[in-house]
């Protein structure tokens, strides 16, 4: 078992021709890119451990920080790294806006001069007042370029707003809320989740009789509190099954330099133990009764320090999409940061269920 080759991440959007059993094939694409942090492993492939397990998070000393304290703690950690240049990946969404707010509150003015913001036109459209009042003060560069080139300069760090979604819930629920109304958030997960998975498959153009629900149902048993609603389920799904995929998806663009390492040249702002423990302990602070209230705690944090009421009405949109536009994707990355180039090689990593 120890000699088995392992993947760090699988980034392909579908499983066509991978040689998986039909039950797994039908469950793409949601299933294909999940890497479980639980004892239950619905994973399609054998993966190395690239993030804390849920059990480890629960057994570690509990930091019990508020959301604001988590943000400031992370901003201080980044400052202590004493980099010469910090590139901040800014999508204009709630999470990356909060990153800049936290840094502006904690960092001395001289250190803020080391910041360069990577953004796109969409980032500005999403949050124009924050752009006018804050972002435009920094040197700006387009986020559509190959950021790994920027990181070849010594003592340089890229900070992203990734993992915020996994802490707060899941964007999977955005479309069902738009189509069926906000009441779906509080619906009994056993009744609503199979239909949502099915709708997702149809949305991706996949016609299948089976759903992912059967495959993932058992993950609810390891949650430290009872999963009852649709929102509970998809937060737990995202937090436990998608964490590692999201953490390492920056590797998927074929032009990304695989010599760069997470933790050395790139860090996600929300990837800390304190944030993850906050997520496990503060389930009531993620959403209220409507999709509009999603991430309300982070919006209130931004408002507190910007005094801009528009920050309270920011809506979650999929602001990352453009970053990946028209980039050739790698199929998978191995535990030693090597690219898997062929379906034949990928078959070596397939789990048997």
């Amino acid at each position: 078992m120890n000699d088995r080759p392992l993947l760090l991440n699988y980034t392909k959007k579908s499983n066509d021709d991978v040689g998986l059993d039909p039950a797994v094939m039908e469950s793409r694409p949601v299933l294909s890119r999940t890497i479980s942090r639980l004892k239950t492993k619905p994973d399609v492939f054998y993966f190395c451990k690239g993030a804390e397990s849920i059990q480890e998070l629960l057994e570690m000393p509990q930091q019990n920080l508020s959301w604001e304290e988590c943000c400031f703690q992370r901003a201080e950690q980044l400052l202590r790294l004493k980099k010469d240049r910090y590139y901040i990946s800014y999508s204009g969404g709630i999470d990356s806006t909060a990153v800049l707010v936290a840094m502006q509150e904690v960092w001395p003015k001289a250190d803020l001069e080391k910041v360069v913001v990577l953004l796109s036109k969409t980032s500005i459209e999403e949050n124009p007042t924050f752009f006018n009042r804050h972002v435009s003060k920094y040197p700006l560069e387009t986020s559509l370029q190959n950021a790994s080139r920027l990181l070849r300069k010594p003592n340089t760090l890229l900070v992203t707003g990734e993992m915020g979604d996994q802490l707060f819930g899941s964007v999977i629920l955005m479309l069902p809320c738009q189509e069926e109304g906000d009441q779906i958030l509080k619906a009994d997960f056993r009744e609503a989740v199979p239909g949502i998975f099915k709708g997702l498959q149809l949305h991706m153009g996949q016609l299948s009789e089976s759903t992912n629900y059967e495959r993932f149902y058992q993950i609810v048993e390891e949650c430290p509190f009872p999963i009852q609603t649709t929102f509970d389920f998809f937060w737990w799904f995202n937090f436990t099954q998608k964490w590692q995929f999201v953490k390492y998806r920056f590797l998927q663009s074929s032009d990304w330099d695989l010599h760069l390492r997470y933790g050395e040249q790139i860090l996600h702002f929300y990837d800390t133990i304190a944030f993850q423990q906050w997520s496990l302990k503060n389930h009531d602070l993620k959403i209220q009764d409507t999709w509009e209230s999603y991430k309300f705690t982070n919006k209130e944090f931004i408002y507190k320090y910007t005094k801009d009421p528009e920050q309270l009405t920011l809506r979650k949109i999929q602001s990352l999409l453009k970053t990946f536009t028209l980039n050739e994707k790698r199929m998978a990355i191995t535990s030693d940061y090597r690219e898997v180039n062929s379906i034949e090689e990928l078959r070596n990593y397939v789990r048997s269920h």
């Binding site: 959007k13 036109k121 500005i124 124009p128 006018n132 700006l140 370029q145 999409l321 990946f324 536009t325």
Partner: protein
């Protein structure tokens, strides 16, 4: 979109027989491969069924690629038009930075569209078997069909028929 429908006929070079017909109002589908060539005609012409499955599939996938790239290119042009940029409430103090950034982004996207179309088209046209064509088609969909400018699968089906 123009009212004039153009017809592109694709011919098997070796057999000198038509293998595929594509009608379009807007997109230029004139392109040749080592084993086929295209001719633009004024009127729709009936074609005989082709025996060459590989060639037919190659042309179909290459047309799909041209279609999606044209749709993406159009999306970028609209999104970065003067009118669209003016609609974003950027204040005077930030405007020059904003315009510099968006000009750079538009150029980068346009370059990437051309580069990707060329790269994928070369791979499709060089394929020796239907399996190779399908494998490249899969890679294309995985790489290209993501992003705010890309139509999703169900929209694409309609676009593919319309253009």
């Amino acid at each position: 979109m123009s009212d004039l429908i153009k017809t592109f006929l694709f011919y098997d070079r070796q057999a000198d027989k038509p293998i595929f017909v594509k009608r379009s109002r807007d997109i230029d589908y004139s392109f040749d491969g080592p084993d086929f060539y295209s001719v633009e005609t004024a009127a729709a012409a009936p074609i005989t069924a082709s025996e060459n499955g590989l060639l037919k599939r190659k042309v179909a996938v290459a047309i799909w690629l041209r279609t999606i790239m044209a749709v993406i290119d159009r999306g970028v042009s609209d999104d970065f038009s003067e009118r669209s940029l003016k609609a974003i409430p950027v204040d005077d103090a930030s405007r020059s930075k904003f315009l510099k950034l968006t000009a750079e982004e538009k150029q980068l996207l346009k370059e990437r569209i051309l580069l990707n179309r060329k790269r994928f088209e070369q791979k499709i046209l060089a394929a020796k078997t239907i399996e190779e064509v399908e494998s490249e088609f899969l890679m294309m969909r995985n790489s290209v069909q993501i992003g705010i400018y890309s139509p999703i699968e169900r929209e694409l089906r309609k676009i593919y028929e319309d253009y």
